[in-house]
Amino acid sequence: MNQTNKSPLQQTAPPLYQVNKPYVTASFEIKYHQIIDADGAVVGPIPDFARQPEQLIKLYQAMYLTRQFDHKAILLQRRGQLGTYASSLGQEAIGTAIGYTMQADDVLLPAYREYAAQFLRGVSMTEILLYWGGNEQGMNFQAQKHDFPINVPIASQTSHAVGVAYAMQLRQQARVAVCVLGDGATSKGDFYEAINAAGNWKLPVVFVINNNHWAISLPRQKQSHAKTLAQKAIAAGISGEQVDGNDVIAMQFRLDKALNKARNGHGPSVIEALSYRLGDHTTADDATRYRSKDELEQNWKYEPLSRLHHYLTNMGYWSKHHDQQLEKNTQHLVESAVQEYLNTPAQAPESMFDYLYQSLPESLQEQRQSVIQRHQGHA
């Protein structure tokens, strides 16, 4: 518990400064972290967990699964079997590191590109497909009771994270809320209000900015004149840093530090994960309207899977044979999720009333009945 119980009456406003020349009252710096570079070369100290091949392989598999899932989802959308879909292509390391690092009873509050994290936390691929397939059951996670569903109104999940973290702190639980948002989301007041409040109460919350350098058609540079997004944390008086978001090892390492810090009562952090959106914004978008081919190609060099693949191969942890096996296993997993999704019956029309309130008010019973009748009329 870090909450001060001092009454404001005991708090005196700071006296005005009495100095005789321009005087530095505060200074800050923003650091950048990377461990494995784009070629798979080691450029920073390898953390302990990453000395265990099976751990790295787990990360690789998770990223790979997410990429294959993504690919499949886009195909489904093209075939008219899925609604608009937001791919996480190129940003798989962020979600993977988050899902890997969080503890089971932590709470994830994602935007809509953190499938990797969600899968590692027990959300099923079927559920994600149901969501984008227009079925609310996709938010009724069967194996994950506390996490928030995908969040579409940009940045609005950030204050939920503050509330979740507040509840954890109040109950003296060693749990952490992890909130993910995009670079575009950092322009919205919600984000700022949330980090500021998190700082005030030293809450156990970590804000991860998936800086994929685009917010639909607006490039990161036009979103804010701030040199880094991490420095937005300074406004809230909390720590902020940049991490190579395509380096899953660095991401895991820095996230782990931030989560431990939060868990131990030392307050919130902002992590700006530098990545790149290699796909369109969603399947409803056409990025060629606003983004050069050149830029896209250039950024493919930094993508997270091949980088870890290089490293694993270099270290002798991985071979062609593993590739084949992983491909086959993953294909199977994705295919069965797709089948399950396609076989899921639509919800009954009257379900639109069944979760509106815990029990439906008398005055709405008639409307619920009329949905049923109308449906029977159609059938």
């Binding site: 509330g163 507040y166 509840a167 919600d190 409040a197 979760y355 309130y357």
Partner: protein
Amino acid sequence: MPEITLVDAVNMGLMHEMAADPDVVVLGEDIGLNGGVFRATDGLQKKFGHQRVLDTPLAESLIAGMSIGMAAEGLKPVAEIQFLGFVYSAIDQIINHAARLRNRTRGRLSCPMVLRVPFGGGIHAPEHHSESTEAIFAHIPGIRVVIPSSPLRAYGLLLSAIRDPDPVIFLEPKRIYRLVKQRVEDDGEALPLDVCFVLREGSDVTLVSWGAMIHETMMAAEQLQQAGVSAEVIDVATIKPLDINTILESVDKTGRCVIIHEAPRTCGVAAEIAAQLAEKGLLSLFAPIERVTGYDTIMPLFNLEQQYMPDVNSIMAAAKRTLEDT
């Protein structure tokens, strides 16, 4: 059992429920040591500590959003927005999240929060402090909108709002915060939500209102009585969801209806009540339904607020029109 005001009753309800349920937390601007700008939360922080009674930074969207997060984790946040004129930054969180957390997760998560907001005119308050925009909330599916009109109902309805498993916007008519006193027993007895209260029985005309306007409406009913007209008075209390049956039954009996609210007329809650009466009770109506409301203009600064708000005379006149027409 002392006589207490409406704002005291709110305070008593909060005290009661905080003591009874450790999951209840109270948050908002200036609600701690200061006890809220209307003193509705006076003494709570002293009794329950800084963690359960927390002063927030000046950020209404945060207040609503963090309440949602708290509620999803099983707390029962009771947040205060200082005045209804400042609730609008929180509307995104209310519409897009609080109102739908249960529905969108098919019941996996829910949002048992209360947003208390003083509202309405008549106290010579500054700009933006006197509006009544309850109709905006009444249009939003998934929430409840509850408005007490007396100390007794403030206590009983607040308890039920806090205990309700879904989000409740609890609008407090600040003009009558201290207008009348009533004996209110601190017995933890909640009043039912989702039902209208018949405050006075009558046979000639039904007067329907809520919040502070109940005061003028009851006075009008008294004066009508003296003029030989028997008015039934209904306090809607929960304007969302709306218990139209109680109103319909009354109008079935009286054949005449006057609906009174401070808010602007167009798309106000009276429109909904009138529309439902016109649909379901058309044949029992002896006269056109009358709406006595604020005008479709900006709530004026206080010099002219009396000219803006409905008063006893305008209610009486409307009631009499319903009687003349027949």
